[in-house]
Amino acid sequence: MPTPPAKGGSPRPPEPILLGMYRSIYATRQFELKCIELYRQGLIRGYLHPYIGQEAVAAGACAALNPADYIVSTHRGHGHCISKGADLKLMMAEIMGKATGYCRGHGGSMHISDKRVNNLGANGIVGAGIPIATGAGMGIKVRGTDQVVVVFFSDGASNNGVFAESLNLAGIYGLPVVYLLENNHYAVSTPIECATGCCDLAGRGPAYGIPGICVDGNDALAVYREAAAAVARARRGQGPTLIEAKTYRHGGHHVNDPGLYMDPAVLAEWKARDPLLRTRRAIDDDARSAEIEAQVDAELEAAVAFATNSPEPSVDAFLAGIEDR
């Protein structure tokens, strides 16, 4: 049976972990708000899927990782990227399509990867990261290191065939992979209840012989605790874990989706459990949280300035480089 979310308060993690998680959450929130603003100004194009409301999942999971551990991300990937230690300048430049961005302006919001911190990348194909992460786990096993992979994906992806195949494969080979299912209850506008006959998504782990754990995804401390335990098991060679983190988007599927299909009362309940406010409350030290916020604000301002002042990719250089592709 999957473990239900822990009742009551979560035990406090070490102070640097707690502050680090708050930094990730606050930075992601502000980054997303800035992206939405820039999108409205026409400075960002294409698809933009804000992570607002889900920040505690990435922050908690990444806090349980070493720099050498890998993550694999999704189309809603800014929070994963930031929590794994991305440079906001390079992220913002990429999302604004600049030559100085992580992917030289080739990728945009849906395709950021960051080799420096072992973020194997976001993905425009729902579910595609799940087997890639499973393979990274196999690669780790072949190389014989003690690294771990955390793969983020959401409820929609969990109904794709690659999820079932990957869990089965990871179970057979005992791969060091943590499958972090961010159940934000929607795939675009489709509620999870309409997309599966059994909404106990954590329960799919035991079906493949691997632990399935359910956690409150708006509680960074709880996510951290479960992720740390799963990561420790994976590092010890005890195989994969499925963690279902229950959470909710604070808006529509993407920046242009007003999310009118979302029940305002339910949304209000989730907003009342805002991961940002909860983590700030857990720190319970206004001076320290304000200090983090000021640092992030300055960093974000510098990132926007850097991206704004960066050049567009050169068309001639781009065309000159493609013929051997």
Binding site: G46, G97, H106, G108, G127, N160, A187, T196
Partner: protein, 323 residues
């Protein structure tokens, strides 16, 4: 004629076919109550109910396979794969199953299904949401491939595709959904496999399809003011290919350029060029040219994205080089 958007014309075709044949049903992601991301199926869920307008989870491989199965037991499923890029997840069912069943069963059953999907660059959606992958399907015996450029063609060809006994990959273009054009008031079915001369001319033939048809027509209008008469052949259906129309236009003008958005390497253009060499070599005044997408994944940045896809200026320049 009535003025209609491309997506409205598609909707009308589906609506009429659903009305006419209770075995036609729809499956896809958020196509029901929400009416699809590009709003093609809007209103149909309300009209025909959840039995015939079905939302699926994100399970392209399996719902495509379900369409094959439903077709084998007598239904006419029309599925929507939101981006042609995602059709790659369903390739086994399209290529190994739907396209083969009639043949490998020795004609015991056909697979009358339509895969509606959508491709093309232009909206900053980057490398996994902007591809033009028609050549992959064109390559497969047993599949029909349709790529309409106008609301009228979208309407008439989708009706024919739904009535067809064989699997049809019906590829729309994301930049066409909001384009408008006249559509016949009376019910019209446009048979698959017939090209349409969208503009007649005598100096150069442009063979094209889908969104590039609009660019070719623009180029042809510009060239007219320079005294060059351009014929624009819109293939409409890539498979079956209307060789007769292409060949007779080539024989008339003696000069042919094939224009498509998909990358040049391994594209439809190469195949048509080879066909012209084999069948009309003596009637040509010079080599056949291809103006096509650059051999690269589509980038996100606006300027370099634009540079990957043929522009009106590229087409004009290509024609000027030829005459």
């Amino acid at each position: 004629m009535i003025e209609m958007m491309y997506r409205e014309a598609l909707r009308r075709a589906i609506d009429e076919e659903m009305q006419r044949d209770p075995l036609v049903f729809l499956m896809g992601e958020t196509i029901a109550e929400r009416g699809g991301s590009y709003k093609v199926t809007e209103g149909l869920w309300r009209k025909y109910g959840p039995q015939r307008v079905i939302d699926t989870p994100i399970a392209e491989a399996s719902f495509t396979g379900m369409a094959v199965g439903a077709a084998l037991v007598g239904c006419r499923p029309v599925i929507e794969i939101l981006f042609i890029d995602f059709a790659m997840l369903a390739m086994d069912q399209i290529v190994n199953q739907a396209a083969k069943y009639d043949f490998i069963s020795g004609g015991q059953g056909t697979v009358p299904m339509v895969v509606r999907t959508q491709g093309g660059a232009g909206n900053g959606l980057a490398a996994q949401h902007s591809q033009s992958l028609e050549a992959l399907f064109y390559h497969i015996p047993g599949l029909k491939v349709v790529m309409p450029s106008t609301p009228q063609d979208a309407y008439g060809l989708l009706k024919a595709a739904i009535r067809d006994e064989h699997p049809v990959v019906f590829i729309e273009h994301k930049l066409l959904y909001m384009t408008k054009g006249p559509v016949s008031e009376e019910e019209t079915v446009i048979p698959l496999g017939r090209a349409d001369i969208k503009r007649s001319g005598t100096d150069v033939t442009l063979v094209t399809y889908s969104h590039m048809t609009l660019k070719c027509l623009e180029a042809a209008a510009l060239l007219e003011s320079e005294g060059i008469s351009v014929e624009v052949v819109d293939l409409r259906t890539l498979s079956p290919l209307d060789k007769d129309t292409v060949l007779s236009s080539a024989r008339k003008t003696g000069r042919v350029i094939i224009v498509h958005e998909a990358v040049k390497r391994g594209g439809i253009g190469g195949d048509i060029a080879a066909m012209l060499m084999e069948e009309a070599y003596d009637d040509l005044d010079g080599p056949v040219l291809r103006i096509a997408g650059r051999n690269t994944p589509i980038p996100y940045n606006l300027n370099i994205e634009k540079a990957c896809v043929p522009s009106v200026a590229d087409i004009v320049e290509g024609v000027l080089r030829m005459v």
